[in-house]
């Protein structure tokens, strides 16, 4: 009787709706894009009427210095923000991993930036970076007449004009450091008490505990967190779009932005598709790295557990 009400088709019925939507709006479009990247693809034509050009789009990009500039900016942006966010986030977590009153309120306030729409983040930071009435220049005393203005003696900084990449990085770091913070705090609080206790009894100082016990034990979680954040950092677009629009010049034109512009302003869909594929390949390598790491880690955990059982 039990057997009968689970037929062989049941799992597929559960999967079907999700699979259908994902095929229709994810897998099929990506296949379509790969196909289109080999064509001279003009948005006004039906794609079957467009000309097959082989690898021409890819080759043209390969020898296009502007593309490489975008590529470099993307890599610099992603790796720098993730590095800074890791240092700040983990540092904060180590600092706040104490038994203090109002910890849950604190965590709530810290996750607020991540929940706010990127376009709104761009909007606020655009205001704060503004040269004549922005918050930062006002704070530096560079505009208006504050009593500390002459004391500091710094002229108004043209944040978005002179230091565009730095500015967009600051905004991203503000929004996403909390992500690292929350995950590393969770990791810290789930560390085995006995190890920390033992270290404390052995007289390890705070620093020694952090370097020799806490960080090594957190490492697996930290690496997964970092990879997740790194993959997401390649998706950032709206904040930069609102803050600088990719400029001045190409200084903040990350790949995602360049794809959007190639497609929408220059209407070169084939080239935009080829660029998307380059970006996808890059992300694929990162994701495979993450998979390999998680697999390796699971295997290692299993081995350790096995060894422990053998001993006990």
């Amino acid at each position: 009787m039990n057997r009968q009400n689970v037929s062989r088709l049941t799992p597929y019925m559960f999967i079907a709706p999700a699979a259908l939507v994902m095929i229709l709006a994810l897998f099929y479009p990506i296949g379509y894009m790969i196909w289109g990247s080999f064509r001279e693809w003009d948005p006004s034509q039906a794609i079957s009427e467009t000309e097959f050009v082989g690898l021409q789009n890819y080759i043209r990009l390969w020898f296009d210095p502007n593309f490489w500039e975008s590529f470099t900016v993307t890599l610099i942006f992603a790796f720098t923000v993730v590095l800074v966010e890791m240092v700040l986030g983990v540092g904060l977590a180590l600092l706040l991993d104490r038994n203090i009153r109002g910890m849950s309120v604190l965590r709530t306030l810290f996750i607020l930036p991540m929940m706010i729409a990127p376009v709104v983040v761009g909007l606020v930071w655009r205001f704060m970076f503004h040269q004549t009435y922005g918050t930062f220049n006002r704070f530096l005393g560079a505009v208006g007449d504050t009593w500390w203005g002459g004391f500091l003696g710094i002229g108004p900084v043209d944040w978005l004009g002179q230091n565009p990449l730095l500015s967009v990085m600051i905004a991203d770091i503000w929004q996403w450091t909390p992500f690292i913070f929350i995950l590393s705090l969770a990791a810290l609080q789930s560390l085995p008490r006995s190890a920390l206790e033992a270290a404390r009894i052995d007289g390890a100082t705070g620093w020694q505990q952090i370097i020799h016990i806490k960080l090594p034990l957190m490492a697996p979680v930290l690496i997964v967190t970092m990879l997740l954040r790194l993959i997401d950092a390649f998706k950032v677009l709206e904040v930069i779009l609102v803050l600088t629009g990719g400029g001045p010049g190409l200084s903040t034109e990350i790949l995602a932005l360049r794809i959007a512009r190639t497609a929408r302003e220059f209407r070169e869909l084939g080239e935009a598709a080829a660029m998307s594929n380059y970006l996808l390949m890059l992300l694929m390598i990162l994701t495979l790295g993450m998979f390999a790491f998680t697999r390796w880690q699971e295997a290692r955990a299993r081995r350790l557990k096995f060894a422990a059982e053998e001993e006990g």
Binding site: L26, I231, A256, I259, L279
Partner: protein, 311 residues
Amino acid sequence: MADTTYDRQNPAYYVLIGILIFMSIGPVILLMANSLRLDVDITSGAGGLLFMPTIRNYETALCDILWYEPEHLRFCTIRFGGAFINSLIIALISTALTLVFGCMAAYALVRFKFMGRDSLSLSTLAVRMIPPAVLLVPVFSLWNNAFCIDNESLVGGWIRDMVGGRGDVCLAGTHSGIIIVYVAMNLPFVIWILQSFIVQVPRSLEEAARVDGAGPFQVFFLVVLPLIKPGLAAASIFTFRIAWNEYLLASALADRDTMTVPILIVNNASEFDGLGTIMATGMLLAVPPILFTLFASRQIITGMTAGAVKG
């Protein structure tokens, strides 16, 4: 084990925490303050945090759905109300669909052994990395050209007669066109998160229900779903947040009547003469996620840590 007394900390420690809180929510407070200020006061920086709040900016932003005519306005230039309603429709429907489809798929992946399960679960994880920018080109093209109903065909002709469109009926420019992209985009994440919650549902409960004669769908909807409510809450917040905040794909697929709030903000962000109004618009876009965060931060944190910490 869990001691309820709090450690005593150095006063400097509390000062540091104060600074951190200020840095974290300062920009949000600035946004709120500026949305309640006149443009003149924003640019002159008058008054700091001591100023007379005004709701003028909100009146301007919401002018197309207000039941009265704000006295300071001669024209209603920002059509925020309509965009707000579009955003709500798109975010709510796509969240609901993502959750239903996502938890069904997650359940199948956790509980049933079937052909292609491993590759399915792996590809679900892999598509999490796809940036919206990569989907832009093909989705824009497909939704505008390929996924259309020809107005010469039976269904197309019927729609043309009923709705009265001129040309073919395409997915682009409709709410459903945007919704389907968001559902597809969010499904991998939702499936991934819900799996870790479904694993924890005791099998014995499901087997008991099955012995009582419940079919697999009854077991799923009546036994499993109520048990994974925290997971559903976390997943729905994340899905809603992405659908509510997303700009790029919406801007490629929406037309004048289906545009969402982020599009409106990007289109108006560079015009600094309506500074207060655009800040008010931004504030209205930020309010739902802020409320979520304040009420459900526990779920949000659980949802975030479910993936990374448990591996």
